[in-house]
């Protein structure tokens, strides 16, 4: 009985960890999902913007301590949220001067496959940001500690007096904030005029032009939002995970796996895809050694791409 009890405890712990981390992965994937859904751009540099979000939050809250008036708990989370608009601006400019030059045009020697140019350009951007980050920020891992980082809520399990679940407070708050932001974004995309404009540009760009929509500007805004959202997710991760300039790499495949799993083009799907990846990652620790956690994600990713490339939600639901 006790071994079953222990198994249940471990399983539930992994499940909860999976849900909490899945919420944040979900937010990251939503960011990438917007970019791909609207612009059909594969952005290899997405992980680097995640990293920049982390460092922005770090410098704002810890480095320059500009949010001291909000206190040690509200400050970091506000900082994470502020990373959104800050990186939105960076992304907007980046799109205007770099990315827009290669979307739609046929380059890199492969005729008709213009998206290779985007892939390669964003790879270049990723390298510059990653290593530029190393130069600017140094390689010492940083973190944005809050009083919640080391504390946990304890939920006793009913069947055994000694068994309980530990919910790290920082992770719970980060997860909740992620869900709130994702919900706000869902509202924005679904209900607001801006959101409808983006969806129209995503659905049929030439028809959108006929309606009088400036599709180039729509793409730029979508790119900015997508990066901003991912930056917020980064800021949230920063509150419980140490980071250094190369951390983006760890998350790139998670984001892509989540978006592909959810169905490229579906924002809701991207969130669920990210959630699923989080669950897979945490639950896989039950059967696999920790180092292979991420290998498990790759395997899942490759399987989806081979077997069901439209993802779980690709055709079933309406886009968004």
């Amino acid at each position: 009985m006790t071994s079953l009890g222990t198994f249940i405890e471990i399983f539930l712990q992994a499940l909860i960890a999976g849900v909490l981390i899945g919420a944040i992965y979900g937010l990251m994937c939503v960011g990438l999902g917007i970019i791909f859904g609207v612009m059909r751009v594969i952005n290899f540099a997405q992980g680097e913007f995640l990293m920049l979000g982390m460092y922005f939050t770090f410098y704002l809250v810890v480095g320059f301590n500009m949010l001291w008036f909000l206190g040690p708990i509200v400050g970091p989370y506000t900082g994470a949220l502020l990373a959104g608009p800050a990186l939105f601006a960076v992304a907007y400019v980046l799109h205007r001067f770099l990315v827009s030059r290669v979307t739609g045009t046929s380059v890199a020697g492969t005729e008709g496959e213009g998206h290779y140019a985007q892939l390669i350009l964003t790879l270049g951007v990723a390298l510059v940001l990653q290593n530029g980050g190393l130069i600017l920020f140094g390689s010492t891992p940083q973190s944005v500690r809050t009083p919640l980082s080391a504390r946990a809520w304890e939920i006793p399990l009913l069947y055994d007096a000694n068994a309980s679940l530990f919910l790290n407070k920082a992770r719970v708050v980060a997860g909740v904030v992620s869900i709130v932001v994702a919900a706000a974004l869902y509202w924005l995309i679904n209900r607001s005029r801006l959101g409808k404009t983006l969806r129209a540009a995503a659905d049929n760009a030439s028809a959108a032009i006929y309606m009088g929509i400036d599709v180039d500007r729509a793409y730029r805004i979508a790119f900015g939002i997508g990066i901003g959202i991912t930056a917020i997710a980064g800021g949230l991760v920063a509150t419980y995970n140490p980071f250094q300039p190369y951390i983006g790499l760890d998350f790139v495949i998670i984001m892509y796996a989540g978006v592909v799993l959810g169905g490229m083009g579906s924002i809701l799907g991207a969130f669920w895809g990210g959630m699923t990846i989080g669950l897979v990652q945490q639950l896989s620790t039950l059967v696999l050694p920790t180092q292979l956690q991420n290998a498990a994600i790759f395997v899942v990713f490759l399987l989806i791409v081979m077997v069901r490339p439209q993802g779980l939600f690709g055709r079933a639901t309406e886009r968004v």
């Binding site: 594969i42 770099l98 030059r101 290669v102 380059v107 890199a108 020697g109 492969t110 005729e111 496959e113 998206h115 290779y116 140019a117 892939l119 390669i120 350009l121 790879l123 270049g124 951007v125 990723a126 390298l127 510059v128 940001l129 990653q130 290593n131 530029g132 980050g133 190393l134 130069i135 390689s139 300039p245 790499l249 495949i253 892509y256 592909v260 050694p289 180092q291 292979l292 991420n294 290998a295 790759f298 395997v299 990713f301 490759l302 791409v305 081979m306 490339p309």
Partner: protein, 589 residues
């Protein structure tokens, strides 16, 4: 052959590069520069391996680190665990690389575009985690003091330089052999238009698999030598994203699809980044990555095909200066349709084929016969399913039901390259050429399916060019052709496979009236030589004069079959083209 004539020049260049490099290696004493002289060829080899797959086929791989790392670890593990010398370990690594190529290629080639790129990215990252888990965080290669040369360990650094140059020469020769043979031409055809290549008889999957096997083997060799030179292997250094990025950047920067490209790229980028790393590495760590990142960005924006092509195009402009203006159409001249021909044996029998996409019925129960030596026009209003019909005949689409029999062979279920080999040729609406190659080299690709050696292939290509009247332009650069000449070249490529039945998709679209006359003359002469031709066309004026029979499709079904004069007076046909009310209104007035 035309291609072999020019082999002397590149071989000479390779020899000069090798000799110069080794001489440089002999005189340089500084150990840092010696290392650099060793690394440049190794990375050039890596770039060449990337080129073998991605440069020639256009399938961009972001995961070549997988092969590199597998090669490095094979050599390392073979030495550490089994005491196998790298002299054997490197070839072993190449085998591992080739096998990995097959295992990765087979499932991944089914993916398109960005899915392919993402999947390729995932493989080395997965391998990285696996090797970390296996406990190979950092594996130094053991020193073998008793028989160092046997284990590829030399105290004199210059030997390593010679080894690296040796590997480079081998890789350059492999690339040259590929480029100048039908291997390279087939890959280039795939890159330019995979569907057209299939239709011309090229087994695209088989060639892609060969390319990735070779590419994997060469990359693994580079990885193996890298391990020997650096004497320590970590998962990040061989499976990391930077490794894949370096392979890609070196080839892309220097020149895609040509063996000199990676050489140029490595010669410029490696010294640049290594020097910066050495001098500034303490102050500005990560300068290497920044250099590669900026290099990639600049290349994509300014010279998308690489430095080599950018420079060469400057001196040998492949494209015609200024657009060739077509003359506007002359007024309508009515002439009679050709007299009906005697009855012929059927060569193509289509019975009851149907095709639906989801709920949409594109082609419904279509049946007709084409006689040997006939010219038949497939006509019908927009969206009638004509091109879908051709795709069904060719093998690009599988019919849901029905039979297609060509000269005794059942065509349904065959891949397009098989259909081509049976004697069915196809031209496409959009004619895409290899602009930097000569017209003859553009056409010869169509002859690969039906010839075994290059001499025959070029002979077939020349015959085809004579048939369309372009023999005088055989050596011209394809980028300089007029539209009509491009169409004729496309036709010649299909003819080079010596088809018995030719399917032509809108060969006259957009041509001026004199050009249309020229095309019609060519088509008639082909039929006179015994070919059977089926044409989809909208230019009715020309079609009524050219075709012996019409097959009219509307909404995916046959509306009428018969001679032009009958068909165009057919009420149903008039209704389909001009609208139902037209007939009613005309009847009233």
């Amino acid at each position: 052959m035309q291609v072999r004539r020019r082999l002397i020049a590149p071989l000479l260049v390779i020899a000069i590069v090798a000799i110069t490099w080794i001489s440089l290696g002999m005189v340089v004493a500084n150990s840092y520069y010696q290392l650099m002289l060793t690394l440049v060829p190794i990375w050039a080899v890596m770039g060449l391996s990337w080129n073998l797959l991605s440069g020639y086929t256009g399938l961009i791989s972001f995961g070549h680190a997988a092969f590199f790392g597998l090669g490095a670890y094979t050599v390392t593990i073979a030495l550490v665990k089994f005491d196998i010398t790298p002299w054997l370990g490197i070839p072993l690594g190449m085998i591992v690389g080739a096998v990995a190529g097959i295992m990765i290629g087979y499932p991944t080639f089914r993916l398109r575009g960005h899915y392919f790129a993402l999947a390729m990215l995932a493989y080395p990252m997965a391998l990285l985690y696996v090797f970390v888990w296996l406990g190979y965080q950092e594996v130094p290669l053991p020193m073998k003091r008793e028989k160092p040369a046997f284990y590829m360990q030399f105290s004199d650094y210059r030997v390593y330089i010679a080894l690296a140059v040796g590997l480079l020469v081998v890789s350059l020769l492999i690339s040259l052999a590929v480029e100048r043979s039908r291997f390279g031409m087939s890959l280039t055809a795939i890159k330019q238009n995979e569907a057209a290549a299939e239709a011309a008889g090229i087994d695209t999957l088989a060639w892609k698999m060969r390319a990735i096997m070779l590419s994997g083997a060469v990359a693994a060799a580079a990885g193996g030598l890298y391990a020997v030179v650096l004497l320590v292997v970590t998962p990040e250094s061989v499976f990391g994203v930077l490794t894949s990025a370096q392979a890609l950047t070196i080839a892309l920067f220097g020149g895609v699809g040509i063996l000199w490209g990676p050489l140029i790229g490595a010669a410029i980028l490696i010294p640049l980044s290594e020097t910066l790393q050495a001098h500034l590495g303490d102050v500005i760590p990560g300068i290497q990555g920044v250099v590669y990142g900026i290099a990639i960005i600049l290349v994509v924006l300014l010279a998308p095909e690489g430095v080599f092509w950018r420079v060469r195009d400057r001196f040998q402009r492949p494209y015609a200066l200024g657009a060739v203006r077509a003359t506007p159409l002359a007024p309508h001249i009515v002439t009679a349709a050709p007299a009906p021909a005697p009855p012929r044996k059927p060569i193509l029998a289509v019975s009851g084929i149907s095709k639906s996409f989801g709920g949409l019925r594109a082609v419904t129960n279509v049946s007709f016969e084409i006689g040997d030596g006939e010219i038949v026009g497939i006509i019908g209003p927009n969206g009638a399913g004509k091109t879908t019909l051709f795709n069904l005949l060719n093998g690009f689409l599988q019919a849901d039901s029905g039979k297609v029999v060509f000269a005794g062979h059942e065509l349904i279920g065959l891949k397009p390259n098989r259909v081509c080999r049976l004697g069915v040729g196809r031209t496409f609406q959009v004619a895409r050429a290899f602009p930097r190659l000569s017209v003859l080299n553009n056409v010869v690709v169509g002859a690969y399916a039906t010839t075994t050696n290059d001499a025959d292939a070029f002979a077939a290509a020349s015959t085809a060019l004579a048939q369309v009247g372009l023999i005088g332009r055989s050596d011209a650069s394809a980028g300089r052709l007029t539209n009509k000449e491009l169409r004729l070249m496309e036709l010649a490529r299909a003819l080079a496979g010596r088809p018995r039945l030719l399917l032509m998709d809108e060969p006259l679209a957009g041509l001026a009236s004199q050009e249309i006359e020229d095309m019609l003359a060519v088509i008639r002469s082909l039929v006179a030589q015994g070919m059977t031709i089926v044409i989809i066309e909208h230019t009715m004026r020309a079609m009524v004069r050219l075709s012996e029979r019409f097959v009219v499709l509307d909404h995916g079904a046959i509306l009428a079959v018969g001679q032009p004069s009958e068909v165009i007076n057919n009420g149903g046909v008039i209704e389909a083209y001009l609208g139902k009310k037209w007939a009613a209104v005309r009847a009233r007035s």
